[in-house]
């Protein structure tokens, strides 16, 4: 067996699963002492080019309470044509079509390497995806122009049979009828009023007498449900011309904005109408509501700030002081909308581009519950937005959109395990089952979750509780199983089921703690802990969360560190724990938990992304990556530390949200002196270019596109870098020169960062002290 590293990597590649613990403590009591909970980061739609196309339905365990799917871990009785469920031990006959089964002739689902398998349910109808654009018209002319162009561009990216709709809003909300000739027609709603889906249906005059249609089940012929909404949601191929014109003619919201006022912007009402429109026409059908927001909602339901400019939009400070009169109401509105959309299987995206806040803090529930995108930028007229938006419609090798709709994830567990909850872009379906734990972490109390929007990178943190009692030991070599069943609507309209079954060994923590410790995945652990922390931070007080994180870290050190009591210097961590404290250090400092210098919108945005991304990206967010480029050698990753800021280096930092290229002082001078343009300094030019190329590579693939910043020593934008690095040198640094353990000679002292934050070194000192302290 390979190293745990390899094992973990292999498992991730195959199943999209990273467990915090890869060997499971076999008793409940022991499990609770592991500090970092047993959980995994699961990426349901992890891109797998090698999955065989399976065009039949999965075989289910016949026990009604189980219904697990046949998997490679099942025991097969080829002669009897029976299989035993590895979750409930029920023996099940194979269905008739499996009669030819034999050891030599195995169906894919029982071949070990296909612990993850995807079934395509062919009998389900193919609904074309639906895209409903909700566009703010209260923005600067050039911004509006940019969005319009982006949207027009997107029309060409959409499959021709996809349905598309357009809602614009400003003071009023307009639902545009597409494809009308002679007169462009739209239905207008007051932006100050929240309407129920039924009212919207009546006012739009749709679905009259067709109410029961959604009850007709999957057989409902397409034309049936297309009829009523035809006017507002049209196939792209039928209306792309008129929609292009319509978008072209769109004007900025014409309502006058008085001096000292914000434009009246009815985002809340518009979203409500969009949700209502889809709710009454296409419930349980894949649909995206794409909201383009140029500022905060200033009236009606979901308003986040009044229209008086003299009242600034709420800050964290205001929230702390409970001094924001619209926030709670607004959040309630958007949360309800998020739930509604989620219930109907619709995705809500928010593309927010404005220099000031736009109310993402209140609106975050919409994308969060529905798996929608949240994009934050300064202007629609930036490549950040344009490329990001374009990337929404990116396709995989098969030419299919990298998005899925209306997914449900069900988790089945062995008897010794139960599900505590999930944290991620999902909502609970509230399905109680045998495998549901009483303890809740994140969205608990259910073994099924709904993710309306799902992407290859979407990852859920799923947490488990070991329920096996200490006095009921599991035989040596016993394994625990988990099965993740993800049903979703593929962007092609197909209904698919992806099944991932994983198994891990049980170990008795009292006797084999080292086995368990060896199976610790510090990266997964860190990310899972950060998800919990962020989840808590959303509801709890910031300081509480930090204290909790600290406590957990200390306990982990106590549990798994090697040390002599009360001797900090004796403290040692095994390799697979060694980075964990550092992750925690950066997590504590990160924008996820520190709101200082961030607006509530930014905080919400960052947290949202952390809540979605897979492990690698999450780690980057928690602890940014820093590369150094210099004449001294090839590019190398360097410590995220002030010491890395050397004058003769170019640094490239990737924080996930930002890509920062930092030219050291000397480099900057050379550059300004124009050496790069001189032929004899071609190498300098190349050096300058190298990080740019690398940055481009990242920029090309990441979604949403990061903010790209090129700065230099003492440049104003260098703050993005300085705020991330470990402040080992500060204005009041007791550590001074040379004490640092890192590379570099005495001359590369790095740059001091003016902060009162403690450095990693101090943090570690304290940690060790506390960990070894016998009193704690």
């Amino acid at each position: 067996m390979a190293t745990y590293q390899e094992f973990i990597q292999q498992n991730e590649d195959r199943d999209g699963v990273r467990f915090s613990w890869n060997v499971w403590p076999s008793s409940r009591l022991e499990a609770t002492r592991m500090v970092v909970p047993l959980g995994c980061l699961f990426t349901p739609l992890k891109e797998r080019a090698d999955l065989p196309p399976i065009q039949y339905d999965p075989v289910l365990c016949t026990r009604p309470t189980c219904r697990a799917i046949l998997n490679p871990f099942c025991q097969i009785d080829y002669r009897a044509k029976m299989w035993a469920c590895n979750f409930c031990y029920q023996r099940n006959p194979f269905p008739p079509q499996y009669t030819a089964i034999s050891e030599q002739h195995q169906p894919a689902e029982i071949i070990p390497q296909f612990s993850t398998l995807e079934y395509t349910i062919t009998r389900a109808t193919c609904h074309p995806p639906i895209y409903l654009i909700v566009l703010d018209t209260c923005m600067e002319e050039e911004d509006l122009q940019a969005v319009k162009e982006s949207l027009q561009m997107s029309l060409s990216l959409l499959p021709p049979n996809a349905l598309i709709g357009l809602i614009t809003f400003g003071k009023m909300v307009q639902v545009h009828e597409l494809g009308s000739e002679g007169v462009s027609k739209s239905y207008v709603f007051r932006g100050t009023k929240d309407l129920t889906a039924k009212q919207i249906q009546e006012m739009l005059g749709i679905g009259r007498g067709q109410a029961p249609q959604q009850q007709r089940g999957p057989q409902a012929p397409q034309q049936q449900f297309q009829l009523p909404s035809n006017r507002f949601l049209q196939p792209v191929h039928k209306c792309d011309m008129s929609l292009t014109d319509l978008l072209g003619e769109l004007q900025r919201d014409p309502w006058p904005v008085a001096q000292g006022k914000r434009p009246l912007r009815s985002a809340g009402a518009a979203l409500s109408i969009a949700v209502g429109l889809l709710e009454c026409t296409f419930p349980n059908t894949g649909a995206r509501i794409m909201t383009f927001l140029g500022g905060p909602c200033t009236q009606g339901p979901g308003m986040v700030v009044g229209d008086e400019l003299k009242h600034p939009i709420r800050s964290h400070h205001d929230i702390e002081k409970d001094n924001c009169k619209y926030m709670k109401k607004g959040m309630k509105h958007y949360e309800a909308l998020g739930h509604r959309a989620a219930n109907n299987g619709h995705v809500l995206d928010i593309y927010s581009c404005a220099l000031d806040q736009t109310g993402l803090h209140e609106m975050k529930f919409c994308p969060k519950y529905t798996g929608g995108h949240m994009v934050m930028g300064d202007s629609f007229n930036t490549s950040l937005f344009k490329q990001t938006f374009q990337r929404v419609f990116s396709k995989d090798q098969k030419g299919e959109f990298k998005m899925a709709f209306g997914a449900t994830l069900e988790v089945k567990t062995s008897r010794e395990l139960k599900v505590s909850g999930a944290i991620g872009p999902c909502v609970s379906l509230g399905v109680k089952g045998q495998s549901v734990s009483d303890t809740e972490i994140g969205l608990g109390g259910t073994c099924q979750w709904k993710m309306c929007g799902l992407y290859p990178n979407t990852s859920l943190g799923i947490f488990f509780e070991v329920v096996n009692q200490h006095n009921a030991p599991i035989p040596q070599g016993g394994r625990g199983y988990l099965q993740f069943i993800t049903q979703y609507q593929h962007s092609s309209g197909q209904r698919r089921v992806r099944v991932t079954t994983v198994a891990r060994n049980w170990a008795d923590a009292s006797s084999n703690i080292q086995h368990i410790a060896a199976g610790f995945d510090q990266e997964a652990g860190a990310v899972l802990m950060s998800r919990i922390a962020v989840y808590r931070a959303e509801t709890d007080d910031g300081p509480d969360v930090l204290r909790w994180l600290d406590r957990m870290l200390i306990r982990l050190c106590q549990k798994f560190g090697e040390y002599h009591k009360d001797d900090p210097n004796s403290f040692r961590f095994s390799e697979n724990f060694s980075l964990y404290p550092q992750f925690m250090f950066h997590l504590r400092r990160s924008q996820f938990l520190q709101v200082f210098n961030n607006s509530p919108d930014e905080t919400s945005y960052y947290r949202h992304m952390l809540n979605i991304e897979d492990l690698t990206q999450s780690l980057i967010m928690i602890q940014p990556i820093l590369y150094a480029y210099s004449f001294t050698g090839p590019p190398e990753p360097v410590l995220l530390d002030t010491n890395s800021l050397q004058p003769d280096r170019i640094l490239l930092m990737d924080t996930f949200f930002h890509i920062v290229i930092y030219h050291g002082e000397t480099i900057d001078q050379w550059k300004k002196a124009g050496y790069a343009d001189l032929p004899e300094y071609e190498n300098f030019k190349q050096l300058l270019q190298a990080p740019v190329d690398d940055a481009q590579e990242i920029l090309q693939t990441r979604f949403p596109m990061p903010r790209y910043i090129v700065t230099e020593h003492d440049g104003s934008q260098s703050r993005f870098l300085l705020s991330k690095v470990n402040p080992s040198q500060t204005h009041n640094n007791m550590y001074g020169f040379g004490q640092i353990v890192t590379s570099g000679g005495p001359e590369d002292a790095g740059a001091a960062v003016l902060t009162d934050d403690v450095s990693l070194q101090v943090f570690m000192e304290h940690l060790k002290k506390l960990a070894v302290s016998s009193s704690s």
């Binding site: 307009q174 002679g182 007169v183 239905y187 207008v188 709603f189 009546e202 005059g205």
Partner: protein, 1163 residues
């Protein structure tokens, strides 16, 4: 009915005139008789009850024959009570007749010119001339009493006869002829000759009427008596002389009645003549006869006031007759009134006498009433001539009055004197503004205002003004000049804020001016200073409109604007119902086809400007609303649907309201698109409240004032604010419960209307219903916003399209003022108390008008809160602050001055009946919603009776109580008030639909005097008598079935609808020429357009129709009615002198009834 009599009587009284004449001539004996009779007559009436009075017996003697009659009559009356007709006895009215005869004598008066003239020459005279005829007609009964009557007449006649006859004979016709003219000024002018001629006609007319009137009710007969009052005159005769003088003076005032009467008596004859005068006055003509001259003189005396003079004439006549009279007459009122008054008075007074006299009188009167019956009797009796009833010809005729006024007062009318009675609305005149308001803008019920509240109350005449500040002007009349004082703004009194006007007194060398209203003195702003000349007038008097004109405008400064911001250009928003019905009827297509080219190009603009500044916007709707963005930069219009009708709003601001010039192309495109967009619309439910809310919101959000044109088809039943239920139950109309369907069913539209007014948003509602659509509820918003309401039932574009488009075109193009506030300021001592019309008032002084055009008229009642002074007169200033069609804020100021009087006679001489009718009608509309129909009817009759009784009591004492004596200017009051009562809009019963009723009520509420005049008494034109080659209209005839001839073709119009009545016996050639078919039976009566044929007859008919339509604010729908066809009853409905199908009284009956009422009051 009695009323009618009165009229007749009046004339009859003219009889008085008689009396007078007789008086004069026969002062001695006859008069007495006359008196007796007369008095008796009246007395009897009143008396009927008084029978006891028979004591009167004595008088009877005079009556001689009559008495018996009278007795009978009385009995009859009494018995009959109301049944005038029973009057069978009335016939006795014969006496009446007699009295009338006197009338005739009156004419004869000519002989004793004065006398006759005096005599109600008219009445009297008429009688005379008519005597025969009249009597016959009248005679009604009288004759019956005939014999008695005859005698009576004889008597009178006797006395008068001599005189009368002549006059009558000659006089009659002449009179009539002359009458016209004489009537008014007649008296004066005609003095001599004309009058006579004039007189006669009228007389004749009157008498007949009188007769007619009589006929109706036996009581009428009583009325008739009035004529008998003739008898009265006799009395007059008696008392006259002495009394005469007194009466005049005294009578006027107090009830003098008794006293007065006597006095007149002296003038006795005069009185008669007086009576005659009245009658004449009515007729006008009558007086003139003999009197004219004398009258003239007197009148002139009287007269300073023309109007008065008119009366005076009559009066004068009498006076003149009696030497002394003059004086009395001088009091003129006294003169006239006394006569009549006296006559009247006396009758009553002499309760005892009544019996006797009355009997006789009554008898006679009854006779009148009886006429019908009596006719027989009469017929047999005295006049075979006069068949039965009171001859309608003898009752005061509006046709005659109109003709006379037209003849005398057409042409220039200078407003250079305070308190001049203006020409009638039916007269074509050109106002020359010389300091007082053009009567087109402002009319008053009286031009000589009583100094005290008590006097006004006693007269029962409401002091009301009818204002039409933006009335259409005559062709030669220049629009009011616009005065721009720049930054200074209008100069105003510092205390009462009245605007500078010609009556302000500059004092202190011109440095200050004293307010004519409140007497406060205000410093003249430096910029406005001008020196005074030696007469104390400013040297720049004639350079400044506000110092020399009755009507002018100021440019307002910012202070006069909402929020102190100058207004933007107004906007018109066209809101088109596109529900199924609307599409199907072709309405939507029609509007879209015609709106731009026929309507919008006519948007109002300031004179001298090429393009209208008015913004236009378009909305379509059924259950939801569609707004259109027609911004000029768009390639195609954008439609924005708002279906949130619960909470209406306007979805766009930019591009919704545009100027036609800029967005013409887009509008064209829109108009082409709308019919297509909704061609398949199956929506049958509509909303209305949200539509108006939307328009309001649109105007508000663009900060403009303006007008909504809502084209709506059905009851708004869709779920939305302002939703209405079908609650129609036309059976309730005319009952006490009618309020329940005439009141709005929800306060929603009232509230909405108030909101609209506040924003300067006027709503014009065009209804195209196929069924009940609850106009009562919807009209509220139109009423409060001073909008116009149009209704096209069962609209079909091909049939009614032209009418609708024409209405719309006229509506859109006429000058209009937006967002107006009207305020009435008056001299200290009086104040406006009650406003009637379509507008909103949030306080008690400011009338808020969202818009005001030439169709909008407001009536205001003025009351005393202190005394006025005769020397200073009373002034009124109407100021309307408004936004013009180009968005300029302006003030229109209209000034009027009135004389003040302490004599009833002065008051009665200067009343304007048309305005009074207008006011009564509006008052009635208001009562409709607060009281029941019965109350309403009785209220009107009571007011009329009180007015006439007051006159009788104060100004016509000498005549017999049996006489019905009517003031010259109000001799048509009974007729018109009956018309009001009969009007569909006011008393409409289940024969019309609830919606029509509400619709008419709405119309009436804002009608101006010109319109009410023809609305209540339709114009009936005998087409077949027209000269096809000339452009003249044929003379109108009275609205009675009896006037229609089987071989005639008639046009009838009342300003709301128009009928073409075709007799079955019409000359086939004419039919051929007009309709291109062989006979009347083949005429296609479903056609709405006249066939265009190239011949003089066809041309003439179309010319006439066009001319009539051009004269009215609305395009009249022409309905062709063939004699004895199914539509005829409907047509007959408009023959207002006849009995109505809902049991309403004929003119004759009504006159009789009024007369009875008067007698009741007087006794």
């Amino acid at each position: 009915m009695s009323g009618q009599y009165p009229g007749n009587f009046g004339p009859g009284q003219g009889g008085p005139g008689y009396g007078a004449p007789p008086g004069p001539p026969m002062p001695g004996g006859q008069p007495p008789n006359m008196y007796n009779n007369g008095p008796a007559g009246p007395g009897q009436y009143g008396a009927p009850p008084q029978p006891g009075k028979p004591g009167m017996g004595p008088p009877p003697p005079n009556f001689g024959g009559a008495p018996p009659m009278s007795n009978q009559v009385q009995n009859g009356f009494q018995g009959q009570g109301d049944m005038m007709r029973h009057a069978g006895p009335p016939r006795p009215t014969g006496p009446m007749g007699a009295s009338r005869p006197p009338g005739p004598p009156g004419p004869p008066g000519p002989p004793g010119p004065p006398g006759p003239g005096m005599m109600g020459n008219p009445g009297m005279q008429q009688p005379p001339g008519p005597p025969t005829s009249q009597f016959q007609k009248m005679s009604m009964s009288g004759q019956p009493g005939s014999q008695p009557m005859g005698p009576g007449p004889g008597n009178f006649p006797g006395s008068q006869p001599g005189q009368m006859p002549p006059s009558s004979n000659a006089g009659w016709q002449p009179h009539s002829a002359g009458l016209g003219p004489p009537p008014t000024s007649m008296a004066h002018r005609p003095p001599g000759p004309p009058t006579p001629g004039m007189m006669q006609p009228p007389h004749s007319a009157t008498p007949p009427q009188g007769a007619g009137g009589h006929p109706p009710g036996p009581p009428m007969g009583g009325m008739g008596h009035p004529p008998s009052s003739m008898g009265a005159p006799p009395r007059m005769g008696g008392p006259p002389q002495g009394g005469m003088a007194p009466p005049h003076s005294s009578t006027g005032m107090p009830m003098m009645g008794g006293a007065g009467a006597p006095p007149p008596m002296p003038g006795g004859q005069p009185p008669t003549s007086m009576g005659g005068g009245y009658g004449q006055n009515f007729n006008n003509a009558p007086p003139q006869p003999g009197f004219p001259p004398s009258n003239m003189g007197q009148p002139s005396n009287m007269g300073s006031v023309p109007g008065v003079q008119t009366f005076q004439p009559g009066m004068g006549g009498p006076p003149s007759g009696p030497g002394p009279m003059p004086q009395g007459q001088s009091s003129q009122y006294g003169g006239f009134p006394p006569p009549s008054g006296p006559g009247m008075m006396q009758p009553p007074a002499p309760g005892g006498q009544y019996p006797v006299n009355q009997p006789g009188g009554f008898g006679s009167q009854p006779g009148f009433n009886m006429q019908p019956q009596q006719p027989r009797a009469p017929g047999p009796a005295s006049q075979p001539q006069q068949p039965r009833r009171l001859d309608p010809e003898q009752m005061p005729s509006p046709i005659q009055v109109i003709e006379d006024d037209r003849r005398n007062r057409s042409g220039p009318f200078q407003t250079n004197q305070r308190g001049i009675l203006p020409p009638l609305v039916t007269t074509q005149f050109t106002t020359q503004d010389q300091g007082y308001a053009n009567p087109r803008f402002l009319r008053s019920t009286m031009y000589n205002v009583p100094c005290t509240s008590d006097m006004l109350k006693a007269s029962h005449i409401p002091f009301a003004l009818s204002m039409t500040p933006f009335a259409r002007l005559g062709p030669q009349e220049p629009p009011p000049p616009i005065v721009d004082l720049g930054e200074l703004g209008p100069v105003r009194c510092k205390r009462c804020k009245a605007y500078m006007n010609p009556y302000m007194q500059f004092i202190d060398g011109g440095r200050r001016f004293q307010c004519v209203f409140c007497s406060a003195s205000t410093d003249v702003p430096n910029e406005y200073f001008a020196h005074l000349d030696h007469t104390g007038r400013r040297t720049d008097l004639y350079q400044r409109a506000e110092l020399c004109l009755g009507t002018y405008e100021f440019v307002a400064t910012q202070d006069y604007c909402k929020n102190n911001v100058l207004p933007k250009e107004p906007a018109f928003i066209f809101m088109i119902d596109v529900s199924y019905n609307s599409i199907k009827s072709g309405l939507v297509n029609l509007i879209c086809e015609r709106l731009k080219d026929d309507i919008l190009v006519n948007l109002p603009k300031e004179s001298g400007v090429d393009e209208s500044e008015i913004r236009v916007g378009f909305v379509t709707y059924h259950k939801e609303l569609h707004f259109y963005n027609v911004k000029s930069t768009l390639a195609q219009p954008q439609m924005m649907v708002v279906s949130d009708v619960e909470d209406m709003f306007v979805p766009l601001v930019d591009g919704f309201l545009v100027t036609l010039a800029e967005s013409e192309a887009v509008i064209d495109s829109l108009m082409g698109q709308i019919p297509q967009l909704f061609a398949d619309c199956k929506e049958t439910e509509t909303v209305l409240g949200p539509v108006i809310q939307a328009g309001l919101d649109a105007l508000k959000s663009s900060e403009r004032c303006g007008r909504l044109y809502v084209f709506h088809t059905s009851l708004p039943t869709a779920e939305a604010p302002g939703k209405l239920k079908n609650r129609d139950d036309r059976k309730l109309l005319g009952t006490e419960k009618e309020k329940s369907i005439l009141m709005p069913q929800t306060p929603f539209y009232e509230k909405l209307g108030q909101d609209c007014v506040a924003a300067g948003c006027s709503v014009d509602l065009f209804l195209f219903p196929n069924s009940y659509c609850d106009v009562a509820s919807m009209a509220d918003v139109v009423r409060l916003t001073s909008g116009n309401l149009y209704k096209y039932s069962y609209f079909q574009a091909d049939l009614d399209g032209e009418r609708f488009i024409e209405d719309l075109r006229r509506n859109v193009e006429r000058p209009v003022a937006f967002d107006a506030i009207l305020r009435v300021r008056t001299s200290t001592g009086i104040r406006p108390v009650d406003f009637y019309g379509n507008f909103y008032m949030s306080n008690t002084t400011d009338v808020e008008l969202a818009a005001m055009d030439s169709e909008q008229s407001i009536a205001v009642e003025v009351k005393h809160d202190d005394k006025l002074s005769e020397s200073e007169g009373a002034y009124v200033q109407i100021a309307v602050l408004y936004t013009s069609c180009s968005g300029q804020r302006r003030l229109r100021v209209i000034n009027q001055g009135f004389n003040c009087c302490t004599q009833m006679a002065d008051l009665f001489r200067s009343c304007e009946l048309d305005t009074l009718v207008n006011f009564f009608a509006k008052q009635a509309i208001r009562h409709t919603l607060n009281h029941n129909p019965k109350y309403l009817r009785e209220h009107i009759m009571n007011e009329v009776s009180q007015i006439l009784a007051c006159y009788r009591k104060n100004c016509a004492n000498p005549s017999s109580a049996g006489q019905l004596i009517l003031p010259e200017c109000m001799k048509l009051l009974p007729l018109y008030s009956n018309c009001i009562i009969k009007s569909d809009g006011i008393m409409g019963g289940s024969e019309i639909s609830t919606d029509d009723r509400s619709y008419l009520m709405h119309l009436i509420n804002s009608m101006d005097v010109h319109t009410t005049n023809v609305f209540f008494y339709p114009r009936l034109l005998p087409f077949h008598t027209a000269d096809f080659e000339s452009s003249e209209m044929p003379s109108a005839i009275r609205c009675s079935m009896e006037r229609l001839q089987d071989n005639g073709i008639y046009l009838l119009e009342n300003g709301v609808s128009m009928f073409l009545w075709i007799g079955l016996q019409v000359d086939q050639e004419l039919i051929q020429q007009l309709f291109g078919v062989a006979s009347a039976a083949q005429v296609d009566i479903d056609k709405v357009k006249l066939t265009t044929l190239d011949n003089p007859a066809s041309r003439k008919l179309r010319e006439m129709v066009d001319e009539i339509r051009a004269d009215r604010a609305r395009y009249l729908k022409l309905t062709i009615v063939r004699q004895r066809d199914k539509l005829e009853p409907w047509f007959n409905h408009f023959l207002v002198e006849d009995k109505g199908m809902n049991g309403s009284s004929s003119y004759v009956d009504f006159l009789c009834h009024i007369h009875k009422e008067i007698r009741n009051i007087l006794s």
